[in-house]
Protein backbone atom coordinates (compact mmCIF):
# COMPACT_ATOMS: atom_id res chain seq x y z
CA UNK A 1 0.00 0.00 0.00
CA UNK A 2 1.08 3.60 -0.48
CA UNK A 3 -0.26 5.38 2.55
CA UNK A 4 -3.48 5.94 4.40
CA UNK A 5 -4.78 8.56 6.80
CA UNK A 6 -7.82 8.04 8.98
CA UNK A 7 -9.30 10.94 10.90
CA UNK A 8 -5.96 12.75 11.00
CA UNK A 9 -5.92 16.14 12.73
CA UNK A 10 -3.00 18.40 13.52
CA UNK A 11 -2.76 21.48 15.69
CA UNK A 12 0.38 23.62 15.40
CA UNK A 13 2.31 24.71 18.46
CA UNK A 14 0.58 28.11 18.43
CA UNK A 15 -2.81 26.41 18.66
CA UNK A 16 -3.77 26.75 15.00
CA UNK A 17 -5.68 23.73 13.66
CA UNK A 18 -4.06 23.16 10.29
CA UNK A 19 -5.58 19.72 9.56
CA UNK A 20 -8.91 18.37 10.72
CA UNK A 21 -10.26 14.90 10.24
CA UNK A 22 -8.45 14.02 7.03
CA UNK A 23 -9.29 10.62 5.50
CA UNK A 24 -7.13 9.60 2.58
CA UNK A 25 -6.05 6.36 0.93
CA UNK A 26 -3.49 6.44 -1.81
CA UNK A 27 -2.48 3.17 -3.38
CA UNK A 28 0.99 2.21 -4.34
CA UNK A 29 2.15 3.78 -7.60
CA UNK A 30 -0.59 6.42 -7.70
CA UNK A 31 0.20 9.96 -8.74
CA UNK A 32 -1.75 12.61 -6.87
CA UNK A 33 -1.82 16.40 -7.02
CA UNK A 34 -2.77 18.54 -4.03
CA UNK A 35 -4.38 21.88 -4.82
CA UNK A 36 -5.80 24.55 -2.58
CA UNK A 37 -5.52 28.18 -1.59
CA UNK A 38 -2.56 29.55 0.31
CA UNK A 39 -2.75 28.48 3.94
CA UNK A 40 -5.11 25.60 3.17
CA UNK A 41 -2.79 23.06 4.78
CA UNK A 42 -0.99 21.50 1.82
CA UNK A 43 2.49 21.84 3.34
CA UNK A 44 1.25 20.59 6.68
CA UNK A 45 -0.28 17.53 5.06
CA UNK A 46 2.89 16.77 3.09
CA UNK A 47 5.02 17.09 6.22
CA UNK A 48 2.72 14.65 7.98
CA UNK A 49 3.21 12.27 5.04
CA UNK A 50 6.99 12.75 5.36
CA UNK A 51 6.84 11.71 9.03
CA UNK A 52 8.21 15.14 9.91
CA UNK A 53 5.12 16.34 11.80
CA UNK A 54 3.25 14.17 14.22
CA UNK A 55 -0.55 14.35 13.95
CA UNK A 56 -2.31 14.63 17.29
CA UNK A 57 -5.38 12.66 16.31
CA UNK A 58 -6.17 9.87 13.87
CA UNK A 59 -4.24 6.96 12.41
CA UNK A 60 -1.45 7.13 9.91
CA UNK A 61 0.20 4.42 7.88
CA UNK A 62 3.11 5.17 5.55
CA UNK A 63 4.42 2.40 3.29
CA UNK A 64 2.76 -0.05 5.63
CA UNK A 65 4.21 1.34 8.88
CA UNK A 66 2.84 3.65 11.53
CA UNK A 67 5.85 5.96 11.92
CA UNK A 68 4.90 7.22 15.37
CA UNK A 69 4.48 3.74 16.71
CA UNK A 70 7.79 2.49 15.41
CA UNK A 71 11.18 2.34 17.08
CA UNK A 72 13.62 5.18 16.35
CA UNK A 73 15.66 2.91 14.07
CA UNK A 74 12.56 1.88 12.10
CA UNK A 75 11.48 5.51 11.84
CA UNK A 76 14.88 6.43 10.41
CA UNK A 77 14.73 3.60 7.88
CA UNK A 78 11.22 4.68 6.93
CA UNK A 79 12.29 8.29 6.48
CA UNK A 80 15.12 7.20 4.24
CA UNK A 81 12.45 5.75 1.92
CA UNK A 82 10.38 8.96 1.83
CA UNK A 83 11.62 11.96 -0.13
CA UNK A 84 10.16 15.43 0.37
CA UNK A 85 10.98 18.36 -1.89
CA UNK A 86 10.47 21.34 0.41
CA UNK A 87 8.62 24.47 -0.61
CA UNK A 88 11.67 26.62 0.24
CA UNK A 89 14.86 24.69 -0.60
CA UNK A 90 16.46 24.04 2.82
CA UNK A 91 20.04 24.10 1.57
CA UNK A 92 22.86 25.98 3.31
CA UNK A 93 23.84 28.82 0.96
CA UNK A 94 27.56 28.09 0.99
CA UNK A 95 27.14 24.39 0.28
CA UNK A 96 28.14 23.16 -3.13
CA UNK A 97 25.57 21.73 -5.49
CA UNK A 98 27.22 18.31 -5.53
CA UNK A 99 27.14 18.05 -1.73
CA UNK A 100 23.54 19.22 -1.55
CA UNK A 101 22.46 16.56 -4.05
CA UNK A 102 24.50 13.73 -2.52
CA UNK A 103 22.90 14.55 0.84
CA UNK A 104 19.82 12.79 -0.56
CA UNK A 105 21.33 9.43 0.35
CA UNK A 106 22.38 10.35 3.89
CA UNK A 107 19.65 8.12 5.27
CA UNK A 108 20.96 5.15 3.30
CA UNK A 109 24.68 5.62 3.60
CA UNK A 110 26.62 4.43 6.61
CA UNK A 111 28.10 7.22 8.71
CA UNK A 112 31.65 6.76 7.44
CA UNK A 113 30.45 7.25 3.87
CA UNK A 114 28.57 10.44 4.77
CA UNK A 115 31.69 11.83 6.42
CA UNK A 116 34.03 10.80 3.63
CA UNK A 117 31.76 12.29 0.99
CA UNK A 118 31.99 15.62 2.75
CA UNK A 119 35.75 15.66 2.17
CA UNK A 120 35.63 14.27 -1.35
CA UNK A 121 32.33 13.77 -3.23
CA UNK A 122 31.96 10.00 -3.53
CA UNK A 123 29.38 9.79 -6.31
CA UNK A 124 29.63 12.86 -8.54
CA UNK A 125 28.37 10.80 -11.51
CA UNK A 126 25.12 10.05 -9.72
CA UNK A 127 24.63 13.66 -8.73
CA UNK A 128 25.45 14.90 -12.20
CA UNK A 129 23.07 12.45 -13.81
CA UNK A 130 20.10 13.75 -11.82
CA UNK A 131 21.13 17.39 -12.32
CA UNK A 132 21.48 16.83 -16.05
CA UNK A 133 17.86 15.63 -16.23
CA UNK A 134 16.93 19.06 -14.89
CA UNK A 135 19.31 20.79 -17.28
CA UNK A 136 21.74 21.72 -14.50
CA UNK A 137 24.56 19.27 -15.13
CA UNK A 138 27.11 22.01 -15.69
CA UNK A 139 26.70 23.52 -12.22
CA UNK A 140 27.88 20.46 -10.31
CA UNK A 141 30.67 22.19 -8.40
CA UNK A 142 29.00 25.58 -8.07
CA UNK A 143 28.11 27.02 -4.69
CA UNK A 144 24.37 27.10 -4.04
CA UNK A 145 24.30 30.81 -3.20
CA UNK A 146 25.46 31.52 -6.76
CA UNK A 147 22.32 29.98 -8.25
CA UNK A 148 19.02 31.59 -9.17
CA UNK A 149 15.84 30.77 -7.24
CA UNK A 150 14.59 28.40 -9.92
CA UNK A 151 17.97 26.72 -10.21
CA UNK A 152 18.13 26.19 -6.47
CA UNK A 153 14.68 24.65 -6.56
CA UNK A 154 15.94 22.23 -9.20
CA UNK A 155 18.92 21.32 -6.99
CA UNK A 156 16.49 20.46 -4.19
CA UNK A 157 14.54 18.36 -6.68
CA UNK A 158 17.71 16.62 -7.87
CA UNK A 159 18.47 15.73 -4.25
CA UNK A 160 15.21 13.82 -3.91
CA UNK A 161 15.58 12.26 -7.36
CA UNK A 162 19.00 11.05 -6.24
CA UNK A 163 17.51 9.73 -3.01
CA UNK A 164 15.24 7.43 -5.11
CA UNK A 165 12.49 7.30 -2.49
CA UNK A 166 9.55 4.90 -2.54
CA UNK A 167 7.21 7.69 -1.56
CA UNK A 168 7.95 10.85 -3.54
CA UNK A 169 6.51 14.05 -2.00
CA UNK A 170 6.92 17.47 -3.56
CA UNK A 171 5.71 20.74 -2.05
CA UNK A 172 5.19 23.30 -4.82
CA UNK A 173 8.30 22.03 -6.62
CA UNK A 174 7.99 24.48 -9.50
CA UNK A 175 6.89 27.67 -7.76
CA UNK A 176 10.05 29.56 -8.78
CA UNK A 177 10.12 28.40 -12.40
CA UNK A 178 8.68 29.89 -15.57
CA UNK A 179 5.65 28.17 -17.16
CA UNK A 180 7.57 26.19 -19.78
CA UNK A 181 10.11 24.89 -17.29
CA UNK A 182 7.32 24.11 -14.80
CA UNK A 183 5.59 22.03 -17.41
CA UNK A 184 8.75 20.05 -18.21
CA UNK A 185 9.62 19.54 -14.57
CA UNK A 186 6.20 18.30 -13.53
CA UNK A 187 6.25 15.93 -16.52
CA UNK A 188 9.67 14.69 -15.42
CA UNK A 189 8.41 13.98 -11.90
CA UNK A 190 5.48 11.99 -13.27
CA UNK A 191 7.68 10.12 -15.67
CA UNK A 192 10.12 9.23 -12.90
CA UNK A 193 7.36 8.03 -10.60
CA UNK A 194 5.74 5.87 -13.28
CA UNK A 195 9.06 4.46 -14.44
CA UNK A 196 10.09 3.44 -10.93
CA UNK A 197 6.59 2.46 -9.84
CA UNK A 198 6.56 4.70 -6.77
CA UNK A 199 3.84 6.86 -5.27
CA UNK A 200 3.96 10.58 -6.04
CA UNK A 201 2.16 13.36 -4.19
CA UNK A 202 2.82 16.94 -5.29
CA UNK A 203 1.16 20.13 -4.15
CA UNK A 204 0.82 22.62 -6.97
CA UNK A 205 -0.11 26.23 -7.08
CA UNK A 206 -1.28 26.09 -10.71
CA UNK A 207 -4.46 24.07 -11.11
CA UNK A 208 -4.10 23.53 -14.85
CA UNK A 209 -0.70 21.89 -14.31
CA UNK A 210 -2.28 19.52 -11.82
CA UNK A 211 -5.18 18.65 -14.12
CA UNK A 212 -2.92 18.09 -17.13
CA UNK A 213 -0.36 15.84 -15.49
CA UNK A 214 -1.91 13.94 -12.58
CA UNK A 215 -4.53 11.20 -12.79
CA UNK A 216 -5.93 12.11 -9.38
CA UNK A 217 -6.44 15.55 -7.85
CA UNK A 218 -7.24 16.39 -4.23
CA UNK A 219 -8.59 19.79 -3.25
CA UNK A 220 -7.66 20.96 0.27
CA UNK A 221 -9.52 23.75 2.00
CA UNK A 222 -9.11 24.93 5.56
CA UNK A 223 -7.36 21.76 6.61
CA UNK A 224 -9.96 19.41 5.12
CA UNK A 225 -10.33 17.44 1.92
CA UNK A 226 -12.88 19.30 -0.18
CA UNK A 227 -12.83 16.91 -3.16
CA UNK A 228 -10.82 13.87 -4.19
CA UNK A 229 -11.46 13.00 -7.84
CA UNK A 230 -9.92 11.71 -11.05
CA UNK A 231 -8.56 14.70 -12.97
CA UNK A 232 -11.22 14.40 -15.64
CA UNK A 233 -14.08 14.78 -13.17
CA UNK A 234 -13.03 17.97 -11.45
CA UNK A 235 -15.69 20.62 -12.19
CA UNK A 236 -15.12 24.32 -12.49
CA UNK A 237 -17.61 25.03 -9.68
CA UNK A 238 -15.54 22.91 -7.30
CA UNK A 239 -12.41 24.86 -8.19
CA UNK A 240 -14.25 28.14 -7.65
CA UNK A 241 -15.28 26.98 -4.21
CA UNK A 242 -11.73 25.83 -3.46
CA UNK A 243 -10.34 29.26 -4.26
CA UNK A 244 -13.35 31.31 -3.12
CA UNK A 245 -11.22 33.38 -0.77
CA UNK A 246 -8.73 34.30 -3.49
CA UNK A 247 -11.28 35.33 -6.09
CA UNK A 248 -9.83 33.44 -9.04
CA UNK A 249 -8.45 30.03 -9.90
CA UNK A 250 -4.64 30.20 -10.32
CA UNK A 251 -3.28 28.88 -13.61
CA UNK A 252 0.20 28.43 -15.02
CA UNK A 253 -1.35 29.56 -18.28
CA UNK A 254 0.88 27.85 -20.81
CA UNK A 255 -1.23 27.64 -23.95
CA UNK A 256 0.99 25.40 -26.07
CA UNK A 257 2.01 22.32 -24.17
CA UNK A 258 5.50 21.04 -24.68
CA UNK A 259 5.59 17.36 -25.40
CA UNK A 260 4.55 16.27 -21.93
CA UNK A 261 1.24 14.65 -21.17
CA UNK A 262 0.99 11.05 -20.10
CA UNK A 263 4.13 8.98 -20.42
CA UNK A 264 4.19 6.56 -23.32
CA UNK A 265 2.48 3.32 -22.42
CA UNK A 266 5.13 0.79 -21.53
CA UNK A 267 4.98 -2.40 -19.56
CA UNK A 268 3.83 -1.39 -16.06
CA UNK A 269 6.82 -1.35 -13.69
CA UNK A 270 6.92 -3.45 -10.55
CA UNK A 271 5.49 -1.44 -7.69
CA UNK A 272 7.88 -0.48 -4.91
CA UNK A 273 5.70 -0.01 -1.86
CA UNK A 274 5.99 -3.08 0.29
Amino acid sequence: MGFSLKGVGLTHANGFRALRDVDLRVACGERVALVGASGAGKTTLLRVLAAALRPDTGRLSLLGTDPWDASPATLRRLRARIGLVHQAPPIPPRQRVVTAVLAGRLGQWPLWKSLASLLYPLDPEGARHQLARLDLGERLYERCDRLSGGQLQRVALARVLYQQPDLFLADEPVSAMDPALSELTVALLNEEASRRGVTLVASLHAVDLALRHFPRVIGVKEGQVLFDLPAGQVREAQLRELYAAEGSVPMAGLAVLPDAGQPAAAAPPPLRCA
Binding site: P121, E125, H129, L140
Partner: protein, 273 residues
Protein backbone atom coordinates in the same frame (compact mmCIF):
# COMPACT_ATOMS: atom_id res chain seq x y z
CA UNK B 1 27.70 10.69 -21.59
CA UNK B 2 30.90 12.63 -21.09
CA UNK B 3 33.02 11.91 -18.04
CA UNK B 4 32.16 13.81 -14.89
CA UNK B 5 34.76 16.53 -14.26
CA UNK B 6 36.87 15.96 -11.17
CA UNK B 7 36.15 18.02 -8.11
CA UNK B 8 38.12 21.22 -8.71
CA UNK B 9 38.32 21.91 -4.98
CA UNK B 10 39.94 18.58 -4.13
CA UNK B 11 43.53 19.50 -4.94
CA UNK B 12 43.60 22.82 -3.06
CA UNK B 13 41.88 21.13 -0.12
CA UNK B 14 44.49 18.40 -0.05
CA UNK B 15 47.24 20.98 -0.33
CA UNK B 16 45.97 23.08 2.53
CA UNK B 17 45.42 20.03 4.72
CA UNK B 18 48.94 18.78 4.09
CA UNK B 19 50.37 22.24 4.71
CA UNK B 20 48.49 22.47 7.99
CA UNK B 21 49.69 19.05 9.09
CA UNK B 22 53.28 19.88 8.18
CA UNK B 23 53.02 23.13 10.15
CA UNK B 24 51.39 21.47 13.12
CA UNK B 25 54.44 19.39 13.97
CA UNK B 26 56.87 22.25 14.61
CA UNK B 27 54.10 24.08 16.45
CA UNK B 28 53.64 21.15 18.79
CA UNK B 29 57.40 20.94 19.31
CA UNK B 30 57.74 24.67 19.93
CA UNK B 31 54.95 24.72 22.46
CA UNK B 32 56.43 21.69 24.20
CA UNK B 33 53.10 19.96 23.76
CA UNK B 34 53.23 16.85 25.92
CA UNK B 35 49.87 16.06 27.49
CA UNK B 36 51.45 13.15 29.40
CA UNK B 37 53.12 15.76 31.54
CA UNK B 38 49.74 16.37 33.14
CA UNK B 39 49.94 12.81 34.41
CA UNK B 40 53.51 13.13 35.58
CA UNK B 41 53.69 11.90 39.14
CA UNK B 42 55.37 14.96 40.57
CA UNK B 43 52.92 17.32 38.89
CA UNK B 44 49.95 15.22 39.90
CA UNK B 45 51.11 15.18 43.49
CA UNK B 46 51.71 18.94 43.57
CA UNK B 47 48.34 19.69 41.97
CA UNK B 48 46.51 17.13 44.09
CA UNK B 49 48.02 18.51 47.25
CA UNK B 50 47.15 22.04 46.19
CA UNK B 51 43.58 21.23 45.29
CA UNK B 52 43.06 19.19 48.44
CA UNK B 53 44.04 22.35 50.26
CA UNK B 54 41.11 24.21 48.68
CA UNK B 55 38.85 22.94 51.43
CA UNK B 56 38.36 24.30 53.91
CA UNK B 57 38.66 27.71 52.32
CA UNK B 58 40.59 30.29 54.26
CA UNK B 59 38.07 32.46 56.12
CA UNK B 60 40.06 33.77 59.07
CA UNK B 61 39.28 37.29 60.08
CA UNK B 62 42.71 38.67 59.17
CA UNK B 63 42.67 37.08 55.77
CA UNK B 64 39.16 38.27 54.99
CA UNK B 65 40.20 41.81 55.89
CA UNK B 66 43.17 41.47 53.54
CA UNK B 67 40.94 40.06 50.83
CA UNK B 68 38.41 42.85 51.23
CA UNK B 69 41.10 45.48 50.97
CA UNK B 70 42.59 43.82 47.88
CA UNK B 71 39.17 43.68 46.28
CA UNK B 72 38.52 47.37 46.86
CA UNK B 73 42.02 48.09 45.60
CA UNK B 74 41.29 46.13 42.41
CA UNK B 75 38.09 48.05 41.77
CA UNK B 76 39.79 51.34 42.58
CA UNK B 77 42.60 50.51 40.17
CA UNK B 78 40.15 49.81 37.37
CA UNK B 79 38.13 52.96 38.01
CA UNK B 80 41.14 55.24 38.42
CA UNK B 81 42.71 53.65 35.34
CA UNK B 82 39.63 54.38 33.24
CA UNK B 83 39.47 57.93 34.59
CA UNK B 84 43.10 58.47 33.65
CA UNK B 85 42.57 56.93 30.23
CA UNK B 86 39.75 59.39 29.60
CA UNK B 87 42.22 62.25 30.05
CA UNK B 88 44.16 60.79 27.13
CA UNK B 89 41.34 59.44 25.04
CA UNK B 90 38.98 62.40 24.94
CA UNK B 91 41.39 64.99 23.51
CA UNK B 92 43.05 62.50 21.18
CA UNK B 93 39.77 61.05 20.02
CA UNK B 94 38.42 64.51 19.29
CA UNK B 95 41.59 65.48 17.47
CA UNK B 96 41.09 62.46 15.25
CA UNK B 97 37.55 63.42 14.30
CA UNK B 98 37.34 65.01 10.89
CA UNK B 99 33.76 66.07 11.47
CA UNK B 100 35.09 68.65 13.94
CA UNK B 101 37.79 70.00 11.69
CA UNK B 102 37.37 73.69 10.99
CA UNK B 103 40.04 73.79 8.33
CA UNK B 104 38.22 71.18 6.28
CA UNK B 105 35.25 73.37 5.51
CA UNK B 106 37.09 76.60 4.98
CA UNK B 107 39.11 77.54 1.92
CA UNK B 108 41.50 74.62 2.55
CA UNK B 109 44.73 76.61 2.85
CA UNK B 110 45.95 74.95 6.02
CA UNK B 111 44.05 71.70 5.53
CA UNK B 112 47.24 69.65 5.30
CA UNK B 113 48.17 70.58 8.86
CA UNK B 114 44.94 69.08 10.11
CA UNK B 115 45.52 65.93 8.08
CA UNK B 116 49.05 65.59 9.41
CA UNK B 117 47.94 66.07 13.01
CA UNK B 118 45.24 63.46 12.62
CA UNK B 119 47.71 60.95 11.17
CA UNK B 120 50.16 61.57 14.03
CA UNK B 121 47.43 61.15 16.62
CA UNK B 122 46.36 57.91 14.97
CA UNK B 123 49.92 56.55 15.14
CA UNK B 124 50.32 57.61 18.76
CA UNK B 125 47.10 55.84 19.72
CA UNK B 126 48.26 52.70 17.93
CA UNK B 127 51.50 52.60 19.93
CA UNK B 128 49.71 53.30 23.21
CA UNK B 129 47.31 50.41 22.84
CA UNK B 130 49.78 48.15 21.01
CA UNK B 131 51.68 47.38 24.20
CA UNK B 132 49.59 45.24 26.59
CA UNK B 133 48.69 46.90 29.90
CA UNK B 134 50.54 44.21 31.83
CA UNK B 135 53.77 45.09 30.03
CA UNK B 136 53.37 48.75 30.95
CA UNK B 137 52.63 47.70 34.52
CA UNK B 138 55.74 45.55 34.69
CA UNK B 139 57.82 48.43 33.33
CA UNK B 140 56.52 50.85 35.95
CA UNK B 141 56.89 48.34 38.77
CA UNK B 142 60.44 47.49 37.81
CA UNK B 143 61.68 50.91 36.83
CA UNK B 144 59.95 53.09 39.41
CA UNK B 145 59.25 50.51 42.07
CA UNK B 146 55.59 51.51 42.09
CA UNK B 147 52.74 49.40 43.46
CA UNK B 148 49.10 49.85 42.59
CA UNK B 149 49.88 53.20 40.93
CA UNK B 150 51.78 51.27 38.28
CA UNK B 151 48.58 49.41 37.46
CA UNK B 152 46.63 52.65 37.20
CA UNK B 153 49.21 54.23 34.90
CA UNK B 154 49.36 51.10 32.76
CA UNK B 155 45.59 50.92 32.38
CA UNK B 156 45.49 54.65 31.69
CA UNK B 157 47.95 54.32 28.81
CA UNK B 158 46.66 51.18 27.09
CA UNK B 159 42.99 51.93 27.58
CA UNK B 160 43.60 55.56 26.62
CA UNK B 161 44.82 54.26 23.27
CA UNK B 162 41.86 51.93 22.82
CA UNK B 163 39.21 54.40 23.93
CA UNK B 164 40.71 57.21 21.88
CA UNK B 165 40.62 55.15 18.73
CA UNK B 166 37.07 53.96 19.28
CA UNK B 167 35.82 57.42 20.28
CA UNK B 168 37.26 58.77 17.07
CA UNK B 169 35.63 56.01 15.05
CA UNK B 170 32.23 56.48 16.70
CA UNK B 171 32.27 60.24 16.20
CA UNK B 172 33.47 59.76 12.65
CA UNK B 173 30.60 57.43 11.80
CA UNK B 174 27.86 59.55 13.34
CA UNK B 175 25.84 61.81 11.17
CA UNK B 176 28.03 64.89 10.90
CA UNK B 177 25.60 67.24 9.17
CA UNK B 178 24.47 69.05 12.30
CA UNK B 179 28.03 69.62 13.46
CA UNK B 180 29.06 70.78 10.03
CA UNK B 181 26.18 73.19 9.87
CA UNK B 182 27.24 74.64 13.20
CA UNK B 183 30.88 74.97 12.14
CA UNK B 184 29.85 76.62 8.90
CA UNK B 185 27.74 79.02 10.91
CA UNK B 186 30.93 80.00 12.70
CA UNK B 187 30.51 78.20 15.99
CA UNK B 188 33.52 76.79 17.81
CA UNK B 189 34.58 73.15 17.93
CA UNK B 190 33.38 72.63 21.50
CA UNK B 191 29.92 73.96 20.76
CA UNK B 192 29.77 71.86 17.60
CA UNK B 193 30.70 68.80 19.65
CA UNK B 194 28.06 69.36 22.33
CA UNK B 195 25.24 70.46 20.05
CA UNK B 196 26.15 68.60 16.88
CA UNK B 197 27.76 65.27 17.66
CA UNK B 198 27.06 64.22 21.24
CA UNK B 199 23.27 64.12 20.90
CA UNK B 200 23.75 61.46 18.22
CA UNK B 201 26.71 59.54 19.58
CA UNK B 202 26.50 60.01 23.35
CA UNK B 203 24.84 56.69 24.15
CA UNK B 204 27.28 54.68 22.14
CA UNK B 205 30.27 56.47 23.65
CA UNK B 206 29.14 55.88 27.22
CA UNK B 207 28.19 52.30 26.47
CA UNK B 208 31.64 51.53 25.10
CA UNK B 209 33.30 53.19 28.08
CA UNK B 210 31.28 51.05 30.47
CA UNK B 211 32.29 47.95 28.53
CA UNK B 212 35.93 48.98 28.80
CA UNK B 213 35.54 49.48 32.53
CA UNK B 214 34.39 45.88 32.78
CA UNK B 215 37.52 44.83 30.86
CA UNK B 216 39.62 47.00 33.17
CA UNK B 217 38.29 45.15 36.20
CA UNK B 218 39.38 41.88 34.63
CA UNK B 219 42.77 43.35 33.81
CA UNK B 220 43.22 44.78 37.33
CA UNK B 221 42.59 41.36 38.81
CA UNK B 222 45.83 40.10 37.27
CA UNK B 223 47.94 43.25 37.67
CA UNK B 224 49.21 41.84 40.94
CA UNK B 225 51.11 39.10 39.13
CA UNK B 226 53.68 41.70 38.12
CA UNK B 227 53.58 43.33 41.54
CA UNK B 228 51.03 46.04 40.87
CA UNK B 229 48.78 45.37 43.85
CA UNK B 230 45.20 44.19 44.10
CA UNK B 231 43.84 40.66 44.22
CA UNK B 232 46.48 39.31 41.86
CA UNK B 233 49.26 40.06 44.27
CA UNK B 234 47.49 38.14 47.00
CA UNK B 235 46.93 35.25 44.60
CA UNK B 236 50.57 35.29 43.55
CA UNK B 237 51.69 35.01 47.15
CA UNK B 238 49.26 32.20 47.97
CA UNK B 239 50.31 30.29 44.87
CA UNK B 240 53.97 30.65 45.70
CA UNK B 241 53.31 29.24 49.15
CA UNK B 242 51.03 26.58 47.64
CA UNK B 243 48.34 27.59 50.11
CA UNK B 244 45.24 26.00 48.60
CA UNK B 245 42.78 27.37 51.16
CA UNK B 246 43.77 30.96 50.49
CA UNK B 247 43.91 30.40 46.75
CA UNK B 248 40.39 28.98 46.77
CA UNK B 249 39.04 32.01 48.64
CA UNK B 250 40.79 34.35 46.23
CA UNK B 251 39.62 32.45 43.16
CA UNK B 252 36.04 32.63 44.39
CA UNK B 253 36.42 36.36 44.98
CA UNK B 254 37.81 36.70 41.43
CA UNK B 255 34.81 34.95 40.01
CA UNK B 256 32.33 37.00 41.99
CA UNK B 257 34.06 40.24 41.10
CA UNK B 258 34.28 39.46 37.40
CA UNK B 259 30.69 38.22 37.24
CA UNK B 260 29.48 41.28 39.16
CA UNK B 261 31.35 43.64 36.84
CA UNK B 262 29.90 41.67 33.89
CA UNK B 263 26.40 42.02 35.25
CA UNK B 264 26.68 45.67 36.18
CA UNK B 265 28.14 46.54 32.80
CA UNK B 266 25.42 44.64 30.96
CA UNK B 267 22.74 46.30 33.07
CA UNK B 268 24.13 49.78 32.43
CA UNK B 269 24.54 49.18 28.75
CA UNK B 270 21.01 47.83 28.40
CA UNK B 271 19.72 50.95 30.16
CA UNK B 272 21.66 53.09 27.71
CA UNK B 273 20.54 51.22 24.61
Amino acid sequence: MSAVPRDPAALPRLGWTLAALVLLWPLLRLADFEPVRLLDEGNLRAMGHFIRGFLPMETSHDFMALLGKAMVETLAMATAGIALSLLLAVPLGLAMTRGLSVSRIGPGRRAWIGTLVRALVRALLAVLRGVPELVWALLFVRVFGLGASAGVLALGITYGGMLGKVYGEILESTDGRTARGLLEAGSGRVAALFYGLLPHAGGELVSYTVYRWECAVRASVVMGFVGAGGLGQLMDQSMKMLNGGEAASILLTFLLLVLAADGLSEFLRRRLA
